[in-house]
């Protein structure tokens, strides 16, 4: 796995606590006096880069394309499933992208076209690419992080967000 030494600016961490911690706390009866108005308005989630991965015409059904998102140390896969799925992108609603680091222990997942699953050689976890990365069986306590995709009018495919924490990082975006 390639290593990259990105500097994380402190705002990222502060945003987490204010975003998630206080947002969650607001759900209960405990009322906290709001901070003075000069405090920066935190974002609820990290800000993701928009990154071009490929063009629709580069993809063939069941031929996985290696990608990296949100940065080069986070490997993933871009897939054309050949069948429309929920959250599928592109004209046929069948393009999806996932992290390929197993959220259990970080081993690289392998795509098996025969049943459109990603499989972990470490401890046998399996994820269903047609069901948003649902863990079919395994030891991960998350379903597989999926990359949100946008396809523009030229057919260029962009990744723009992630819906679960990627293995091996406590913030999905490591750099500012």
């Amino acid at each position: 796995m390639s290593k990259r030494c990105d500097k994380l600016v402190d705002t990222g961490r502060r945003q987490f606590l204010r975003g998630t911690g206080i947002a969650a706390a607001a759900g209960i009866a405990t009322v906290v006096t709001p901070a003075p108005g000069k405090a920066a308005v935190p974002l609820a989630r990290v800000t993701y880069p928009s990154q071009k991965l490929a063009n629709v015409k580069d993809l063939k059904t069941d031929e996985p394309l290696d990608i990296n998102y949100p940065d080069k140390d986070s490997p993933g896969v871009l897939l054309k499933l050949g069948k429309a799925v929920e959250n599928g992108a592109g004209p046929d609603r069948d393009i999806v992208a996932f992290s390929t680091l197993c959220p259990h222990k970080g081993f690289p997942l392998n795509y098996v076209a025969a049943d459109k699953s990603l499989n972990c050689p470490g401890h046998y976890s399996r994820f269903d690419c047609e069901k948003g990365g649902m863990e079919i069986w395994g030891q991960a306590t998350q379903n597989l992080p999926q990359f949100a995709l946008r396809v523009d009018s030229k057919g260029d495919i962009y990744a723009e967000a992630v819906d679960e924490l990627i293995y091996g990082r406590l913030s999905n975006v490591l750099s500012a």
């Binding site: 796995m1 994380l8 929920e86 222990k105 970080g106 392998n110 269903d128 379903n143």
Partner: protein, 820 residues
């Protein structure tokens, strides 16, 4: 739509985060974890000098890193009244799991009670009593006074047989040495309660009577033996799902060949190769698949026997091994008795065994060779493991005895690479006063309850509505009896205690039953209760247990229990003290005096009263010493305390001395006698489908919390029933369709899961699940010692409805890992 947490950052444990020793409280394996806690308004930083891991977290961490935790390992909980962040992550230095977290243990934080994040909002926070048509909060004193008043009256009128008890007897959550002692002291010392049963079976008995009668305790090995064995035999077990990290961390290295260096180093005077495995199971499991992937199909022998015929296989293996001379004559002579008689009684030909089991003669011969054929003149080392396939299977007593015969005859108990062990469910944590008064066979408690016996029922961490046999009939009668008491209570103002007790006693005389339910969450059987008492779980109290290799650890209290919840041992003490008062008020000072000795302030007091004074070697063990031993603890029994460490025992019987007469292990005559439990053969003849049943990875020993976990309940909103696709086609079933499983015992529901590897007419249903109870269709037939036979159940199947909405987001793909 697939459940995602949409969490993309987690708070970082600061350098000064408090670190607590934790042993996972779910299954037998007992993986080591650490709980990090720190103030909710603080956090560490990405730089190595700013976080508890001492790592630069601004970089992607590699596979198997110690410097990462998943969202399920984080929560915000109360600690001494203050909100704190908590991270519960696997300990890489624990020899049990070496940093592995299972899909259950790695959710311990997420499955903790949190007022901030709302997790486990189901947890009981207050004592509840039945009044005004519902269960409503009250004080501990009020609840305990009512419990004691009714219990005292019932015992005064019916004797102690009128008090029926269901109680956990294990370790981990809902158990532990502290709590088994607390309940044990109450029912076995202050009283001599006979009508008592355990959480998963209808009597107070051992699941593995025969091995104990043979002088061989059932947890006699160490996990490392599975790294050293030439061959592993697992019968009626599915360790990848139900002993996950023991399997992944110790069995797999052997099958992969990566424990070869360890074998050569520890056992230098014999040849070694990568391990092989024999798996006895009517069903193909993910365990079989994983073994094939790692060892190659040539080194995995899956004996897919006819359901319930294990005994006929073991007797034939024993016979063949003996005839070949592949036995350990020296060991048999020095350490055992009864070998010749056993062999004569159990003699079974390969052909007869093949006919009964459905295997080929060749398969049985191969198994025997892998188990016992000497390797270049040296004894083959074989580890024998078994679990619920035998324990809840046909003819428990003889079948387990036959398995132990084979292990003993081949010299595989008490030696490296050996062992003959149950794999286990919960961890263990049993220390109680003598239960000799219970008798043998013990009372069949469910049948007593169904027959209208008893007046008061105390339930500790059990939910028979989900986990007993003959469950539908049990629930029908139980509801009727407990409703009688509820209706009587509603006739009197709650605040008039004397009149309440009279009303309750009146209903009991008419066949009613008064129920006290002690648990951490609302249960199905708790719906019938009149008093519910809230208990604390592991981590909300200090709790000690031992795992499948007798490794004892202390889980340190890292958070507060919810509301007024208390450790079970202190609840038992409270009941005892209230009973003392009640008996004194009734003018029976002699009885009242039996309830003295419960002035415990903490769970540690109960531990010192119980384990420290009463467990074998307990005098060497204190909380302070256990704390210092961390997540590795020591292996019981403790034999001393030296250089600041408790000295344990790596393997039992290493000296060749066993628990039978004159220190011998005793062979057992275990002739095959078909389906043993009453009515099973007729059931098999009458109904089309085997309703085999058991556990699933995600909810193994954790379902009571998982029922409020979105990640799990999305995967299994309903219990699955694995069916061969051709059987499904015949019944016009699609994946996810709701089916009814029914027979003469009752009926239940499940969700059809197409499983091409399932044999025709042989299904497998998830056991003990809240949304479909398999026990509804299990007959009341038991063995001679009141051990239930869940596995051999036959029924018919019909469609109830098309796949409901909750199944639409599900995957129905094969559970088996694949590479192409």
């Amino acid at each position: 739509m697939t459940y995602k947490r949409n969490i993309d950052r987690l708070p970082i444990p600061p350098k000064d985060a408090k670190v607590h020793n934790v042993t996972c409280h779910f299954c037998i394996v007992g993986c080591g974890y650490h709980a990090y806690t720190w103030d909710v308004n603080r956090q560490g930083g990405m730089a190595a000098d700013q976080n508890a891991f001492g790592a630069d977290l601004s970089q992607q961490q590699a596979a198997e890193t110690v410097n990462w935790f998943s969202p399920s390992m984080h929560n915000i909980v109360k600690q001494n009244g203050q909100d704190v962040h908590i991270v519960i992550k696997p300990d890489h230095d624990c020899v049990v799991n070496s940093g592995l977290g299972s899909v259950r243990g790695a959710r311990m934080a997420e499955e903790s009670f949190s007022e901030v994040t709302g997790t486990q909002a189901q947890r009981l926070t207050d004592p509840l009593v039945w009044r005004y048509g519902g269960l409503y909060p009250t004080s501990w004193q009020d609840a305990l006074d009512l419990v004691a008043a009714v219990t005292q009256r019932v015992v005064a009128e019916q004797g102690e047989d009128g008090l029926i008890v269901s109680a956990f007897d294990h370790g981990g959550a809902g158990g532990g040495y502290e709590n088994t002692w607390g309940t044990g002291k109450l029912y076995f010392e202050s009283m001599k309660v006979k009508n008592i049963r355990i959480h998963n079976r209808p009597a107070y008995n051992s699941e593995v009577h025969s091995t104990r009668d043979m002088g061989v305790g059932e947890l006699n090995y160490c996990y490392e033996d599975t790294e050293l064995a030439d061959t592993i035999v697992i019968a009626g077990g599915n360790p990848l799902e139900t002993q996950t990290n023991s399997f992944l961390n110790h069995w797999i290295p052997n099958l992969r060949g990566t424990s070869l260096d360890k074998k050569k180093k520890q056992l230098p005077d014999e040849p070694h190769a990568a391990g092989r495995i024999v798996i006895v199971d009517p069903r193909r499991t993910v365990t079989v698949n994983a073994c094939e992937m790692e060892a190659g199909k040539d080194n995995v022998l899956h004996l897919a026997i006819n359901s319930g015929t294990d005994l006929a296989l073991f007797n034939a293996l024993m016979t063949y091994v003996a005839d070949k001379g592949w036995i350990d004559k020296e060991f048999i002579a020095a350490s055992t008795s009864g070998y010749d008689d056993m062999l004569a009684a159990n003699r079974t030909s390969l052909e007869d065994s093949a006919k009964i089991t459905g295997l080929t003669v060749q398969q049985i011969q191969t198994a025997a060779s892998w188990i016992a054929e000497p390797k270049e003149g040296k004894r083959r080392r074989t580890m024998f493991g078994y679990e619920k396939g035998l324990i809840w299977g046909n003819d428990n007593y003889r079948t387990i005895g036959a398995f132990v015969n084979l292990a003993l005859a081949t010299g595989n108990v008490g030696r490296p690479g050996g062992g003959c062990v149950r794999m286990g469910g919960h961890q263990e944590g049993y220390v109680r006063p003598s239960d000799a008064h219970v008798g043998r066979p013990a009372a069949y408690v469910d049948q007593l309850l169904i027959a209208g016996k008893g007046g008061v029922h105390h339930i500790w961490g059990c939910d028979h509505y989900k986990t007993t046999l003959n469950a539908l009939e049990f629930k029908r009668v139980y509801k009727k009896r407990t409703d009688m008491v509820k209706d009587a209570m509603s006739t009197v103002a709650y605040g008039d205690r004397a009149a309440q007790v009279e009303a309750i006693m009146g209903a009991i005389k008419q066949g009613g039953l008064f129920v006290v339910d002690i648990d951490i969450v609302p249960t199905k059987i708790g719906q019938a209760a009149h008093v519910v008492l809230p208990a604390a779980t592991s981590g909300e109290m200090n709790l000690t247990s031992m795992n499948g290799e007798r490794r004892m650890r202390l889980t340190e209290r890292y958070m507060d229990p919810p509301g007024q919840a208390k450790p079970d041992c202190l609840i038992a003490a409270g009941i005892a003290q209230a009973l003392e008062k009640a008996w004194r008020a009734a003018g029976k000072n002699d009885v009242a005096d039996k309830f003295k000795g419960y002035d415990w302030k903490t769970e540690e007091d109960a531990f010192m009263d119980g384990y420290h004074q009463h467990a074998g070697g307990g005098e060497n063990v204190t909380y302070e010493r256990l704390r210092a031993m961390g997540t590795n603890g020591f292996q019981e029994p403790a034999v001393g305390f030296k250089d600041g460490k408790i000295v344990g025992t790596q393997r039992l019987y290493a000296d060749g001395k066993f628990g039978g007469k004159d220190g011998k292990a005793i062979f057992m005559a275990t002739a095959w006698r078909g389906l043993q439990a009453e009515g099973k053969q007729q059931e098999k003849d009458k109904f089309a489908f085997l309703i085999n049943n058991g556990r699933a990875n995600q909810v193994w020993q954790s379902a009571y919390l998982d029922q409020q976990n979105d990640f799990v309940m999305e995967r299994w909103p309903l219990p699955f029933i694995e069916m061969n696709p051709d059987d499904m086609a015949e019944l016009k079933l699609n994946q996810g369709d709701l089916v009814e499983v029914f027979n003469d015992n009752g009926s239940t529901q499940a969700m059809a899961y197409p499983t091409p590897t399932a044999k025709r007419k042989e299904t497998f249903m998830l056991f003990a699940f809240p949304t479909g109870v398999q026990g509804n269709v299990v007959s009341k037939g038991v063995n001679e010692l009141i051990i239930p036979n869940y596995k051999q159940t036959w029924g018919n199947i019909r469609k109830i409805a098309d796949a409901p909405e909750v199944t639409k987001s599900l995957t129905f793909k094969s559970l088996e890992y694949r590479t192409s």
